[in-house]
Subunit: 170 residues, 2 copies
DNA sequence: TTGGAAAGTCAACAAGGCTGACTTAAAACA
DNA sequence: TGTTTTAAGTCAGCCTTGTTGACTTTCCAA
């Protein structure tokens, strides 16, 4: 479990872990971990004929019920046309509801229906199970470090999105 | 910078960080960080008409020069047909060389050419720059935790691949 | 000598990105 | 009031990268 490459940093702020070799290991860790991270929801989505794009839409609509299409677009970083294709099927299937804005009638506000919430729960629970196991295996200190490094790795725009929804406790 | 959710764990193995809210933040961190993680190489690839699939192939061929197609397949987790399409263009473009096996002539052993190595270096250097910055910002302890959690998040098969190439110092 | 493994190829298909062009409705502005 | 801008949605077409299925060639090993 202990790191092999002298990351312990007994006294000072050791720079040993910044060798290209250590960085490459970090890169590969991201690659392999991301595969594990998406594997469980992918299996659930497949049974219903959905893909990751649907998962992302569902996740962020749940995250902030009532948000507009434009907000969601900025979050996902895809084109309107790309999102629309996904959104249309979710609305047709009764998982998402699109309501005309009251103040600004051009806007559409997006909500998960009960069915949509149910799917969201099963997807995020699958992901949480793995996350929980990884957290338990690594321990509390590791979790804090994990989050710090990931946050530092984000593009500034995305980091703002991430931090913005930091404490909005659903 | 310090975690808000009581991850400090003053005495025992606090379980406070395992709330659904904390887990959800970890999930979103993975999502946003992965975007940042791939952004820089993606820009380089685009200029040459390649995609992420090419990057992955190049990365792992460089990782273990001379490996067979089957080995690479297991690493990447895609179908032979999918890999072949990518591999063919890389060979045509002179970035990858495929040599018939000497012992077993059915096998093809894959190597990066000088051009291939050059592209690999520019891709991985772009990724390392970001990684290095994130590591510096987060500090040594955070990096160890980051790696621990990611490793625990991998599927067992992938984890074995990851660990297998742990200390093969290029 | 024959069975099966390794590699490669062709065809067809799907998801999910993209661009560009265009419409509709409504808000904002001059 | 009339014009411009914005939000959303749609149509068409393209690309990458994944999939299955069927098939061939090569060649090792039982």
């Amino acid at each position: 479990m202990a790191e092999g490459g002298g990351a312990a940093s007994p006294g000072g702020e050791s720079l040993l872990f910044l060798t290209d070799e250590q960085l490459r290991k970090g890169i590969e860790a991201m690659f392999f971990a991301y595969r594990g991270f998406t594997a469980d929801p992918d299996r659930i989505l497949e049974t219903r004929g959905y893909g990751r794009a649907h998962h992302r839409a569902i996740h962020f609509i749940n995250r902030q019920q009532g948000q507009t299409v434009n907000t969601l677009l900025a979050m996902l970083g895809v084109t309107k046309q790309s999102l629309n294709r996904v959104l249309r099927t979710l609305i047709e299937d009764g998982l998402v509801e699109s309501r005309v804005g009251r103040k600004d009638k051009r806007e559409r506000h997006l909500f998960l229906t009960e069915d949509g919430k149910a799917l969201e729960r099963s997807l995020s629970e699958a992901q949480r199970v793995r996350m929980r196991a990884a957290y338990r295996a690594a321990g509390p200190a590791a979790v804090a470090g994990f989050r710090q490094v990931l946050e530092a790795m984000m593009d500034p725009d995305l980091r703002r999105h991430y931090q913005a929804m930091k404490d909005s406790g659903t």
